[in-house]
Amino acid sequence: MEPVVHFRAAVSLLGRFPALAGVDLDVQRGSIALVHGPNGAGKTTLLRTCAGLVPVVDGEAVVLGHDLRQAADRRAVRRRVGLLSHATCLYDDLTVADNVRFWARACGATIAEADAAMSALGVDGRLADVSVAKLSAGQRRRTSIAAMIARRPELWLLDEPHAGLDAAARDVVDGLVRAAAAAGATVVIASHELDRATALATDVVRLAGGTVMPAPREEVTAGVS
């Protein structure tokens, strides 16, 4: 079976500097891959590259069958992925419901799917009519996740998905990730919270200096403990 993410010696630049310096990575459909590594290792760039936002200048990079070296393919893959980044991608002056429904409509999803996503993240009801500017950091993060899952992406790209969330919300996110993978979606997580993320992941890789290194689960878990 073709992997959903297939990188061979892939190189991406940030400005003139290689943020990914020859990455080899395969992620199979339905799996949950954890990418960990120190700050500046290239985790965020890896996710943005998978999302088609950063061009691949050398090597091989295929995501969901799209060759990321081609501009047209990068545009095409964007419709099929969901990227949860450090930025929330929310408009402060709009309400929670306005935001989630806008991003859902923009991505071809229905209002019902947007409302279901809000309900799943607990930002429905009275909270749905609150302006995003008045939300706490955790509520903003949950709204952002709701906007991402409303579009029903085939590939979930989650950059620090547990950041800013309380324990209950983290459990909700983990449940959604497991359910999505069970339904056939593929998930790539970049995280520093190795205890929780390792428990969630089916595959673990370590990124350092822009390249992927082997990371046996036992070593990662031992590092945490």
């Binding site: 088609g52 419709r79 990227l83 930025a87 929330t88 991608c89 923009a106």
Partner: protein, 227 residues
């Protein structure tokens, strides 16, 4: 099919931008009062008793429109530059031509509302009497389309830069000089009750609008990627 997609995407973006304005009230509470303030300052600077104000009404009206339009354009692209929203738009799969038309359309609608407010302002403060209504309305529609289209193009160009607030007026105001000239001359003809003198200027405004709308539809995607 292509056109349906573009129009649908333009509707999604325009709906979001207008909803944002409705919720934030920036246009009604800040930009419209600023536009009226410009008219009042002109009235202080040019003594109404000497008749200069009456002769300069058309030009002052359009200068106030351009200044207010700059504020509206800066805001519409500042909200996309904040908190990763531009990446969100790139990931959405919305047609870039639709994004351009939606943003330009929302700005144009805001500007038309401002022009109504400013029209009432010059009538009350400067004692202006509007004569050729058809020419006035067509001039406003065509000139506003040109301002919104050119502004949206340069707005997205400047949006990715740290100096966007100061750069946009520098980029845009020289480009809008033909609009200021054509709209002012056309308004002067309308105020004087000689519409035949104004229609050639409307043709110039229409050419400007068509060029920038076409250029925006074709180039906005590349500018959104590069900004």
């Amino acid at each position: 099919m292509f056109h349906d997609t573009v129009l649908h995407d333009a509707g999604v973006i325009a709906g979001k931008d207008l909803r944002l304005e409705w919720r934030s009230r920036v246009t009604t509470n800040q930009i419209a009062p600023f536009a009226l303030l410009v008219l009042i300052l002109f009235a202080f600077a040019l003594d109404p008793d000497r008749g200069i104000l009456t002769r300069a009404t058309a030009g002052l009206f359009w200068v106030a429109v351009l200044f207010s339009g700059l504020l509206a354009l800066q805001r519409t692209f500042a909200i996309e530059a904040a908190d990763g929203n531009r990446d969100g738009l790139r990931l959405s799969g919305l047609d870039p031509a639709g994004i351009f038309l939606g943003k330009a359309g929302a700005v144009a609608l805001e500007l038309l509302v401002l022009e109504i407010v400013l029209g009432a302002g010059v009538a009350l403060m400067y004692g202006t009497i509007f004569r050729s209504w058809l020419l006035l309305v067509v001039t406003c529609l065509v000139a506003t389309t040109g301002v919104a289209a050119a502004g949206s193009l340069y707005g997205v160009l400047a949006a990715g830069l740290r100096v966007r607030e100061t750069l946009l007026p520098l980029l845009l105001l020289p480009i809008l000089a033909p609009v200021l000239l054509g709209a002012t001359r056309s308004f002067e003809a309308a105020l004087a009750g000689v519409p035949s003198d104004g229609w050639p200027w409307v043709e110039l405004l229409a050419a400007f609008a068509v060029i920038y709308v076409a250029f925006g539809v074709l180039a906005f995607g590349s500018l959104l990627e590069e900004a």
